[in-house]
């Protein structure tokens, strides 16, 4: 379960980009975070993947207050969180398969242990024939699917995605959404940030709507 208690966040000494956030995401839930550009969706995700600490308030994940974790503990917690970034953050000098294997590699797994898993993941996202291709040779949609495969390959408990359908056509967007639904069916907690409120509402999942850094509404399923 993810718990936000009166969480505020600002960059340096700038204005608050998130204000008094109070909400819970139950284990195994599929939750949307929506809002216009600049509403604070990406900042909220940064707090969730432990890339920043709140300026005020408290965030609990996996039963721990994550605002007081050491650097090593943060690394360990991140292995339980899969993230799909808006800009993919793939490593251009590695192949698609090597990019997907990254979370397993940094966790100390050997190639022989994860090879099959990586191949299976790439097939699952429809890129089984692109394993040895490097990101600069791939389209935006293909990069997005590699990023998704990388986010889920280590079977994390929480999957976060920032505008995962923002740079792909509608057909690909539907396919990508289906991947997240499948992961959620496997028991993973999914938090998906999008500016597309219609997309969020169509699925019938809970929606956290941000406006100017504040939580304006929580649309129940």
């Amino acid at each position: 379960m993810i718990v936000f208690e009166d969480v505020g966040f600002r960059y340096g000494r700038g204005p608050d980009v998130l204000k008094n956030l109070d909400f819970e995401v139950p284990e195994g839930a599929f939750t949307f975070v929506t809002g216009a550009s600049g509403a604070g969706k990406s900042s909220l995700l940064r707090l969730l993947y432990l890339d920043a600490v709140p300026s005020s308030g408290r965030i609990s994940m996996f039963g721990r207050d994550v605002t007081t974790l050491s650097r090593d503990e943060i690394a360990w917690f991140r292995r339980r969180i899969g993230v799909v970034f808006q800009d993919f953050r793939l490593l251009d000098h590695l192949t698609a398969a090597e990019n997907v294997a990254l979370p397993l590699r940094v966790a100390g797994a050997k190639v022989s242990e994860y090879r099959e898993n990586v191949v299976e993941m790439l097939r699952w996202v429809g890129l089984g024939d692109q394993m040895d291709v490097k990101p600069p040779q791939l389209s935006g949609g293909e990069k997005q699917r590699i990023a998704i495969a990388r986010a889920v390959v280590a079977s994390p408990d929480i999957i976060l995605a920032d505008e995962p359908t923002g740079s792909v056509d509608p057909v690909m967007a539907e396919r990508i959404m289906q991947l997240f639904v499948e992961m959620n069916r496997l028991g993973k907690t999914v938090v998906l940030a999008t500016h597309d409120l219609d997309l969020a509402e169509q699925t019938g999942h809970p929606v956290l709507e941000l406006q100017g850094g504040s939580l304006m509404a929580r649309v129940a399923a």
């Binding site: 650097r71 690394a75 490593l91 590695l94 990254l102 940094v106």
Partner: protein, 287 residues
């Protein structure tokens, strides 16, 4: 996928690093050889003199056999003196030959009488006490255990050794500084990659491990190249010393190669440690 492949390092940076480490390792080998050579030379000099002393009996008014006998009696009664033998005229002439040549006759020179004394190196007589006894006998004899000369040789060897050690330290510092600078530069260039690794769950020590592995190989490559060149140069010096007998103490011994091997190991360990500490410090300070 090798761990080192996770970060894309520039080949040119690696080559530069290898060349600098090779140059430093080369100098370090010679500094080490200087240290060992100085110690060896000093030992050779002092060992040659230990166990030997001389007594010189003044010659201005001539030296009588009684004077010599008195001195010999004192020496032979002294604890630690194994043997005391006056040099023959021929032996004294041979000692004076480098200064006076062979032309003058010894009788025409006010040459002192020299008594060669063999002493027990483990039980050397106290020179001040022995000199006092010789003075008391009024034989005009001066005891010389070469202590001053040995002291100067040891002090010269110490000075050379300290300079060589200083050079070794400078080489080590230079290598460490090059590692620190190149690692910092790489961390800055690879900021996005390292951030991605961290977001994928990599601990600081994992990232440090990537750099350690790379700098281990760079250090080993540079160390081996530099030490191989130094080893070849040392063999050349050794050949020169053996043939010319100019610097016999610098001639290589059977284990001479241990020095370059030690330098290679030291350089590799230094590179690994400097890389690790630089990465950990940079990551923890938020680089």
């Amino acid at each position: 996928m090798r761990r080192g492949a996770l970060i894309s390092f520039q080949a040119s940076g690696g080559l530069l690093m290898v060349l600098i480490v090779a140059a430093m390792a080369f100098l370090a080998c010679f500094a080490m050889a200087g240290t060992l050579g100085a110690s060896k030379l000093a030992n050779a000099w002092t060992e040659g003199l230990s166990g030997a002393a001389t007594v010189r009996i003044g010659a201005e008014d001539g030296v009588s056999q009684d004077q010599v006998d008195i001195v010999l009696d004192i020496l032979r009664e002294t604890d630690g003196v194994i043997e005391a033998t006056p040099l023959t005229d021929e032996e004294v002439a041979a000692l004076l030959e480098p200064w006076f040549g062979t032309t003058p006759r010894l009788e025409d020179l006010p040459a002192p009488t020299i008594i060669a004394v063999r002493i027990d190196p483990l039980n050397e007589p106290e020179s001040a006490i022995l000199q006092a006894r010789l003075d008391g006998a009024g034989a005009g004899a001066i005891y010389d255990d070469h202590g001053e000369w040995r002291g100067r040789a040891a002090s010269a060897a110490r000075a050379v050794r300290n300079v060589a050690l200083g050079a070794l330290i400078i080489c080590a510092l230079a290598i460490a500084m090059v590692v620190v600078l190149t690692v910092r530069s790489s961390l800055a260039a690879q900021r996005a990659t390292i951030a991605t690794l961290r977001l994928a769950g990599a601990e600081d020590r994992f990232v440090a491990g990537v750099y350690q592995t790379r700098y281990l190989w760079l250090g080993l490559a540079g160390g081996v190249i530099g030490c191989a060149m130094a080893g070849a140069a040392m063999l050349a010096v050794d050949a020169l010393a053996s043939v010319g007998r100019a610097l016999p103490a610098l001639a290589a011994t059977g284990q001479w190669w241990l020095g370059p091997v030690a330098v290679v190991v030291f350089v590799a360990v230094l590179c690994v440690l400097a890389a690790r500490l630089t990465v950990l410090r940079a990551l923890r300070s938020g680089a």
